[in-house]
Assembly symmetry: C2
Homo-oligomer: 172 residues x 2
């Protein structure tokens, strides 16, 4: 979809921060290697993960990228990674894109929207155990790859409680 050949590439180490909550972002990031996360920090200083982006995923604060407003999230590498930078000049104005690109974009957006809608339904109406089980089914490779505390943050519970959930599941 994006012209990765000409895109600017950046290598980052685990822990490196590409965007800080409250800043206005210039870029979206396409992950070539490694894994990033986007997360919001609440008033109590706790981190809540919005998205994981392993290989071939894009990550950004879409509102900040599109409308140049302060970002609601920070973006940070959770592994040593390599990303392609997506700039507003390449991608901010849809009318410059080819029809073929727009169709690809529409399909990806739709799939993304479906997954995101499901996440909202899960947060509203599923038990935390069910949210965890759904995560393991939807992202089996991430379950292996990520520490428990990050998964806990993504599904909306504390690490301690996810530990309880796992124990209860194991007992069955």
């Amino acid at each position: 979809m994006l012209n990765h050949k000409t895109a600017q590439i950046k290598k980052i180490v685990k822990g490196e921060i590409l965007l800080k909550q409250g800043e206005i972002t210039k870029y979206g990031y396409f992950v070539n290697r490694g894994c990033l996360k986007s997360y919001a920090v609440d008033n109590a200083g706790k981190e809540h993960i919005m998205q994981f982006a392993p290989e071939n995923w894009m990550i950004s604060d879409l509102d900040s990228f599109t409308n140049q407003v302060p970002s609601l999230v920070s973006i940070e590498a959770i592994e040593d990674s390599e990303v392609s930078l997506i700039s507003r000049s390449d991608f901010g104005d849809f009318s410059k894109l080819e029809k073929k690109t727009l169709i690809e974009l529409a399909i990806k957006s739709r799939n993304n929207m479906i997954a995101t809608n499901k996440r909202i339904i899960g947060l509203l109406s599923w038990s935390s155990e069910k949210r965890y089980l759904d995560f393991t089914e939807t992202y089996p490779t991430l379950v292996q790859r990520l520490p428990l505390k990050l998964i806990a943050s993504y599904i909306g519970v504390t690490p301690e409680y996810l530990s309880d959930i796992r124990r209860k599941i194991a007992k069955k």
Copy 2:
């Protein structure tokens, strides 16, 4: 964006159900008049509202519409309404759409995605009071128009608890 002039129109009364959770949907709905909701019912029989769709909004289960899988939500009129039906033959295949339509779609999808992302951040990291206050700022007209219990369901609390929240806010 959609060809509303030729679209099939349907009038429905308050309480009428256009899609039942678990069914495969044929249509998306564009609301000309009135207001609909989409909602999931959990194991305990409780209703959780995914989306409100007042005038000029579209509502559907996108996964069910696109992939012909069972819907995770039901769609129901919360006021007497009039909707235009959007069918898969009109809208299922992006390559049939004109470039201009694709651009409009991309913009609407992006705005929708921004709002949806914000909702997830809210559910993960905001207090229920903050979620309510954000709702009143984001959808001031709906606050007037909708009963408290529906707003409670949307922000993810019980009506009783939203009543408490309102009292606490009023005291300040």
